[in-house]
């Protein structure tokens, strides 16, 4: 029984070898199901939109791109298995993914071991590209890292908004939210501010009033809440219901049209850091927003934009490389400099992190508006 099964599996898993004019396979891993499915879906949409556009322009010197997407259910072990399958059986040229750092951390060693480049669009934990003081040679990212984004908002709060007393409300199960909160705290204190309180919630909670009530008693001037829009929208509403008028501050996890749909006018006067502003007149950004809306009937969130950029950088590097795979591709990606993406002008530094300025957006009338730029 076991034998027949393994034979079956082997048969199913062995695909045909790639011919010369076969499309270039782009492996994508995301949480298409499970609690974080909505983020995985945005990532997939971003990559697929980029591929569609690239192919309509003739692909890579006539060779088309094709995405191979696997679901990991939001589980690290599934992400690892899916990555292995992508690199060893589907023989993809590059792996794009994941959103959560805990899953990218499970994927990175496999990309390293198999010498296949990997770009994570939105994993912000520094350890994804550099673990134990050693840079992972094959792993890159196009998003901010936690230290940068946490610091950016601390600077903004302290220097531009002149805040002195801030409280933190973090998502305890989310490494992104934890990372941003930690670096915000460190920087804000360094700049002479005070952190009044540090409360936590868990993604998916419906009620945040317990934490908000206790924060309210401490009378902070603002609350730093670097979670995802799914929870922040409810937090904003409940803060207003408790007559809390101080602004909430957040990170790029806020960027989604769903935030305004669910949070409504409760969000007015809130700030968050992001990669780009939808007001930005740059044609690249406006074109991206327009085509994305046309195809998926919703405004792209930050995750979609980052995934879109990850794919564009891949194509750009492939164009520059002597061969669209392996070592040449790795070198080309590492040499990315001044790439004009939707999420900013991206240069990859020695640690394989994207260096780009962050914009600060202020929400008014259910829309984010440009408030300022902070350079790295």
């Amino acid at each position: 029984m076991k034998k027949t099964l393994s034979a079956l599996l082997a048969a199913a898993l062995l695909s045909s070898p790639a011919a010369a004019q076969d499309p270039i396979l782009i492996g994508v891993i995301g949480s298409l199901t499970g609690a974080e499915a909505t983020y995985g879906l945005s990532t997939r949409h971003g990559v697929e939109l980029a591929i569609e556009e690239l192919n309509s322009k003739g692909g890579l010197k006539g060779r088309m791109f094709a995405a191979k997407v696997y679901d990991d259910q939001g589980k690290p072990e599934e992400a690892a298995t899916a990555t292995t399958r992508l690199v060893s059986q589907d023989k993809v040229a590059i792996v794009l993914g994941e959103v959560a750092s805990s899953r990218s951390l499970a994927m990175a060693p496999i990309a390293e071991a198999n010498k296949v480049p990997m770009i994570t669009p939105s994993s912000t934990n520094p350890r994804v590209t550099k673990d134990g003081g050693k840079v992972r040679q094959w792993v890159f990212r196009v998003c901010f890292i936690d230290p940068f984004q946490g610091t950016v908002m601390a600077k903004w709060a302290r220097e531009s908004l002149k805040l002195e007393r801030v409280a933190i409300l973090r998502d305890v199960g989310n490494d992104y939210s934890m990372g941003l909160s930690d670096f915000f705290t460190a920087k804000f204190k360094e700049l002479g501010g005070t952190i009044l309180a540090d409360e936590s919630y868990k993604a998916g909670d419906q009620d945040f009033k317990a934490q908000l009530t206790s924060l309210k008693g401490k009378k902070p001037q603002a609350i730093y809440t670097p979670g995802y829009y799914t929870d922040v929208a409810l937090i904003a509403r409940q803060a207003r219901e408790l007559n809390m008028n101080m602004p909430l501050l957040g990170g790029d996890g806020w960027d989604s049209s769903k935030l305004y749909e669910i949070g409504g006018s409760a969000l007015d006067g809130y700030y968050f850091s992001n990669h780009y502003s939808t007001d930005d007149p740059s044609p690249a950004i406006q074109n991206f927003i327009k085509t994305y809306k046309a195809k998926y009937k919703e405004t792209p969130d930050a995750l979609a934009a980052l995934a879109y950029d990850a794919m564009l950088i891949t194509a750009d590097a492939m164009g520059r490389a002597t061969a669209p795979t392996g070592e040449p591709l790795r070198k080309a990606i590492a040499a990315t400099k001044g790439f004009k993406g939707v999420t900013g002008v991206i240069t990859l530094d020695a640690d394989h992190n994207a260096v780009k300025p962050a914009v600060i957006l202020k929400i008014t009338g259910k829309k984010p508006g440009y408030a300022g730029t902070i350079k790295p």
């Binding site: 997407v69 939001g74 399958r85 134990g132 199960g173």
Partner: protein, 319 residues
């Protein structure tokens, strides 16, 4: 001679696993590896749910204890010392770490087992699930254990040979237990606790022993998993994971070791085969569960073992 017989399954298994490790295509190897880990989990949970008939829903919690302990130790003893060759060092350290992980999980199993003894059925299930969640939340809150991200950079010690031998050890342990008087004592707890007590079986003692033994092997599975994905994170040990293991046990047939093994392999394989279905994969999986349970309510094998069916067939043919 006796030692040889006692070790025979491993001596025979090791070269087979080694050959598979050398020649299986990587994807198949990984599916087999995951299947092996699931076999460890399902067979060990079967010791509690199948043998003693207690309903534990907290297996992932014990996995977590094992995984974190193992990872902490291998990370602390990362570099070979005293001129030991690296391969020997790493495997030695891994063995040591896995045993420590099993030990600590077993201890936790005792701690969960003892207070849970007053409870039965659904109450026990919800309490063990509660322990699972408490363990996970505690880990999430401890910085030393990496909080929500977990411990990354875990050394890649898990190989197919390791997993194969560990799975074999679990199955052999379960089988030897079941065929012994201790196993029968556990079964008597499942069948009728009052009668078992009256016949001199220390039912409390056997429940606790089953919990500890089962937790130890869950810890082994957790340790192996952590050193395969090279990351130990609370996200791997939610109650959903516990539920998945229960599903394997019930689907295989409560108390049937070969049933649990086969169910673990089948479900892992089926999920991998369906990977191309994207979002529809999990829908198919849940449909499969419902249909299989409706078609075979006692699980694939009931409380029996696969060879008993072959035996029955032969008898029929002879008659």
């Amino acid at each position: 001679m006796r030692a040889l017989r006692s070790l025979a399954p491993f001596l025979l298994g090791a070269p087979v696993f080694w050959l598979v490790q050398c020649y299986a295509p990587p994807t198949l190897a990984i599916v087999l590896l995951m299947a092996g880990v699931n076999v460890i989990l399902a067979v060990s949970l079967n010791m509690v749910n199948g043998f003693t008939g207690q309903f534990s829903l907290g297996h992932a919690g014990f996995m977590a204890i094992g995984a974190y302990t193992t990872a902490k130790i291998t990370l602390a003893l990362g570099d070979p010392a005293g001129g030991v060759p690296p391969w020997l060092w790493s495997n030695g350290v891994f063995l040591l770490a896995l045993l420590a992980g099993m030990g600590l999980s077993a201890l936790m199993g005792l701690m969960v087992g003892v207070p849970s003894l007053r409870l039965r059925g659904d109450y026990l299930a919800i309490v063990t699930l509660g322990f699972n969640e408490i363990i996970r939340v505690l880990i999430e809150n401890v910085r030393w254990l990496g909080g929500a991200t977990g411990i990354s950079g875990v050394p890649p010690y898990t190989t197919l040979v390791w997993v194969g031998l560990a799975a074999l050890a679990t199955v052999v342990t379960a089988q030897r237990l079941l065929c012994s008087t201790h196993g029968r004592a556990m079964l008597s707890v499942r069948e009728d606790e009052v009668a078992a007590e009256a016949m001199g079986v220390d039912t409390v003692g056997y429940k606790v022993r089953a919990f500890a033994l089962s937790a130890a092997f869950a810890g082994l599975g957790g340790g192996l998993l952590g050193h395969y994905i090279l990351l130990v994170t609370p996200k791997s040990f939610t109650f959903v994971k516990s539920i998945e293991v229960v599903v394997m046990v019930v689907l295989g047939g409560m108390g049937s070791i070969s049933g649990a093994t086969l169910a673990a392999v089948l479900l892992t394989g089926a999920l991998e085969l369906m990977r191309g279905l994207d979002q529809y994969r999990m829908v198919m999986y849940s449909l499969l569960l419902v249909v299989l349970m409706l078609a075979r309510p006692t699980g694939l094998f009931g409380t029996r073992e696969i060879w008993e069916f072959w035996g029955a067939k032969k008898k029929k043919a002879a008659a």
